[in-house]
Each structure stands twice: as structure tokens, then as C-alpha cells.
């Protein structure tokens, strides 16, 4: 049902989650339903706006959102790309999850189907990614996230070993730029 209550129900489902840690297996599926990439790694979230996602070799990628900036490191090109988080939240609904007050919520209609919630972008939303979250029935922990990019790609992220509301070390969300990495600073006012 696409009713304001679905958005409320989702925000209530998210409310008790202050931190979350998990291992993930991520599959990128092409337009014809074929798996074109599989990544594995670890992710962590701390509301309202901190996020950590790291995939293991051979695809060594790291994404850290510290509430102000998003750092994306790709070992293959030895480069860290830094962008402002507020513009990034619009880029990936994953970051939207964290911040109940984020204005970007207005860009989504939320529908509910049992334990699954789908955030579909409204017509004038900046970007066209759709997000579906599925929660566990018992403890309400996040089980899977599916991102559809509106151009035929679907990213399915399955979570395992989910731990919620544990204290996370501060360093989890403060990204240390590798010494030999190139920095591509795309922030409005780059500060290094």
C-alpha cells in the first residue's frame, strides 16, 4: 500500500537501529537477469549519517561516509574520490536510510509488502534509483537491500552475521587516505 503510513512504518522499523554491522554478499545483475559481478565484504552503519562499506579482493573498494564527506577508494586505480555527503545522499538511497530527517526522503514514495519496504523515486527526484529493504521477522534486523538503477542494473546485497546497536569504534567511520593514493576531491570547498 502506498500510504504515508508505509513511510512512517519504515522509519519506525529503522528507528531502533542506532548501529548495524554485517558481512555482505553483493550481486550486480544485468538487464537480462544475469549476475555480472559478485562482491563480498563488510559494512557498518551508525545513524544518523555514518556508513562504511568495504569489498574484498579482487575488487578492493572502500566507501566511508563520515557524516560530512563520502570517501570512495578503488585500489585498481589507487585513487580516493571525496564528495560532499549531502549531495551523495541524493546519489545513493543507501545513505538516505541513515537519516530520518534527510530532505531526500521527500523524493521517495514508500510502499510496504510484509517485511519489505520499497522506496521508489518520485518523478522529479534527482536520481532514479529504487531501493527495497527487507527486515527479519523476529528481531527486525535488516536482511537484504536491493538497489535498482532505472537503467537495467540491479544490485542485490544480502547481509549476514548482522549485529545491531553495538558500540562501534570511532575509527570505523573516519577514513585514512592511503599514503600513495591519488586524491580526487570533488567537494564544493575541498579541505585537506
Amino acid at each position: 500500500a502506498t500510504t504515508p503510513s508505509a513511510k512512517q512504518a519504515l522509519q519506525e522499523q529503522l528507528a531502533p537501529i542506532s548501529t548495524l554491522q554485517a558481512r555482505f554478499e553483493q550481486q550486480v545483475v544485468g538487464a537480462d537477469g544475469e549476475v555480472i559481478q559478485t562482491l563480498e565484504g563488510e559494512l557498518a552503519m551508525a545513524r544518523p549519517n555514518k556508513f562504511y562499506w568495504q569489498s574484498e579482493a579482487p575488487d578492493e573498494l572502500t566507501l566511508v561516509a563520515d557524516g560530512v564527506a563520502v570517501y570512495y577508494f578503488d585500489a585498481f586505480v589507487e585513487q580516493v574520490t571525496i564528495s560532499d555527503q549531502h549531495s551523495a545522499a541524493g546519489q545513493s538511497p543507501f545513505l538516505l536510510l541513515l537519516d530520518a530527517e534527510a530532505t531526500a526522503w521527500a523524493d521517495y514514495e514508500v510502499s510496504q509488502d510484509g517485511q519489505s519496504y520499497t522506496l521508489a523515486p518520485t518523478a522529479n527526484a534527482a536520481q532514479q534509483q529504487q531501493l527495497t529493504l527487507t527486515f527479519g521477522a523476529e528481531q527486525g534486523q535488516l536482511e537484504s537491500v536491493v538497489l535498482t538503477d532505472g537503467q537495467g542494473q540491479q544490485t542485490q546485497i544480502q547481509l549476514a552475521e548482522v549485529a545491531m546497536n553495538l558500540a562501534l569504534p570511532y575509527t570505523t567511520f573516519s577514513y585514512q587516505i592511503p599514503a600513495d593514493a591519488m586524491v580526487d576531491d570533488q567537494r564544493a570547498e575541498p579541505q585537506l
Partner: protein, 195 residues
């Protein structure tokens, strides 16, 4: 992934082994690859890496660039009628061919025609100082290219094919590719081949 035997010069390889491998490639009507591609602009020291889904058909080349979390970043398609580039918001731009379109949109002189040959290990007509790797197989030796120099998009390129994989237990295709000119360095790690 087959560990590659050491590269040897042209005179250390049987011409039949070179021809046999190139013949296998010539028979490839269509193929598809998933890769990670990194682009180093040597003039302004900028670089970028994206994931790439590449579908090649006799009359059609389709490239899709994507990010693991953000999804599709752009698509580039080329047919005999011309080329089309779709940006992140699916906005389309048209050109006579992919190389010309990319140059017009981004000012990059990228060797997309050469790349279509490089990624499968096909030997361009005009190469210098080629080296090969000799694989002995049940039906005769095969000598895929290891490295060579060639000219494309008004640049001199040094191409290196550093690792190969046997696909459908029949044809050797590259999985680690590097191209370098005075202006660009391009490296590709091919994750998956499909014929």
C-alpha cells in the same frame, strides 16, 4: 586463469601457432566481457576507474559503465549507423562513431576501435616488435600476443596482454590488459568472458 608462459619474440614462435590463434579469434562472431577499467590521463594526471559490461555483436558494440553502489553511470553504443552515448540520467548524445563522440563530449582521444581488437588479443594489421606467449594444447601450439606497438587515434600505443584465460575450453582470451601512449594509460582486468 592460465599462468602465462614468458613472452618470446616473433622469431622464437612458429608462424603456424600465431596464425592458428588469430584464426580462432577471427571466428568469434560475438562475445561479452565484465571488466574493471582504469583510465590514467597522463597530461593532467587525472585518473578514473569504473566497472564495464561490454557486449560485442557483428554489427553492434555496447558498453555499459557502472558503479557497484550507484548503478549505471553511462552507456555507449555503436552500430554501422552511428554511435549513441547515454549519460547517468539516460540523456542521449549522438555521433558518427564512438571514438568521435567520446572526443567531442569529453575531449578525450581514446582508441576505442583499437580497443575492440586489443581486448580479444587480435593482432592489428600494422604492429611492430610483437612478442608472443606459446601455449601447447592438445590440438597444436597456440601463440597469443604478449605485447606490441601500434598506431591508433593519432597516437603510438604500447599494448601489453599480461594474462590469458581459456574460454569454453577452446580460445585463449586476455584477462589483464594494459595500453600506454604519451597521453594515456589504460588498464583492464577482465573478470568474466562469455562467448
Amino acid at each position: 586463469c592460465a599462468t602465462a608462459p614468458p613472452p618470446v619474440s616473433e622469431d622464437a614462435v612458429a608462424p603456424a601457432a600465431i596464425a592458428r590463434h588469430q584464426q580462432h579469434l577471427a571466428q568469434l562472431e560475438q562475445w561479452q566481457l565484465q571488466a574493471h577499467i582504469a583510465l590514467f590521463n597522463l597530461t593532467n594526471d587525472e585518473r578514473d576507474a569504473v566497472y564495464l559490461e561490454w557486449r560485442q555483436r557483428p554489427q553492434q558494440m555496447q558498453l555499459r559503465f557502472y558503479h557497484p553502489l550507484k548503478g549505471t553511470l553511462a552507456r555507449l553504443e555503436q552500430t554501422p549507423l552511428g554511435a549513441t552515448y547515454y549519460d547517468e540520467d539516460d540523456q542521449a548524445y549522438y555521433g558518427s562513431d564512438a571514438e568521435q563522440l567520446v572526443h567531442r563530449l569529453f575531449g578525450y582521444q581514446l582508441p576505442l576501435d583499437l580497443l575492440q581488437q586489443v581486448v580479444i588479443g587480435q593482432q592489428p594489421k600494422l604492429v611492430s616488435a610483437p612478442s608472443y606467449r606459446n601455449f601447447s594444447t592438445s590440438n597444436g601450439d597456440l601463440a597469443p600476443l604478449a605485447s606490441y606497438h601500434t598506431k591508433a587515434s593519432e597516437q603510438q600505443w604500447h599494448v601489453q596482454l599480461n594474462a590469458y584465460e581459456v574460454v569454453n575450453s577452446k580460445v585463449y582470451l586476455p584477462t589483464a590488459i594494459a595500453l600506454e601512449s604519451a597521453l594515456w594509460r589504460i588498464k583492464m582486468r577482465v573478470r568474466k568472458w562469455q562467448l
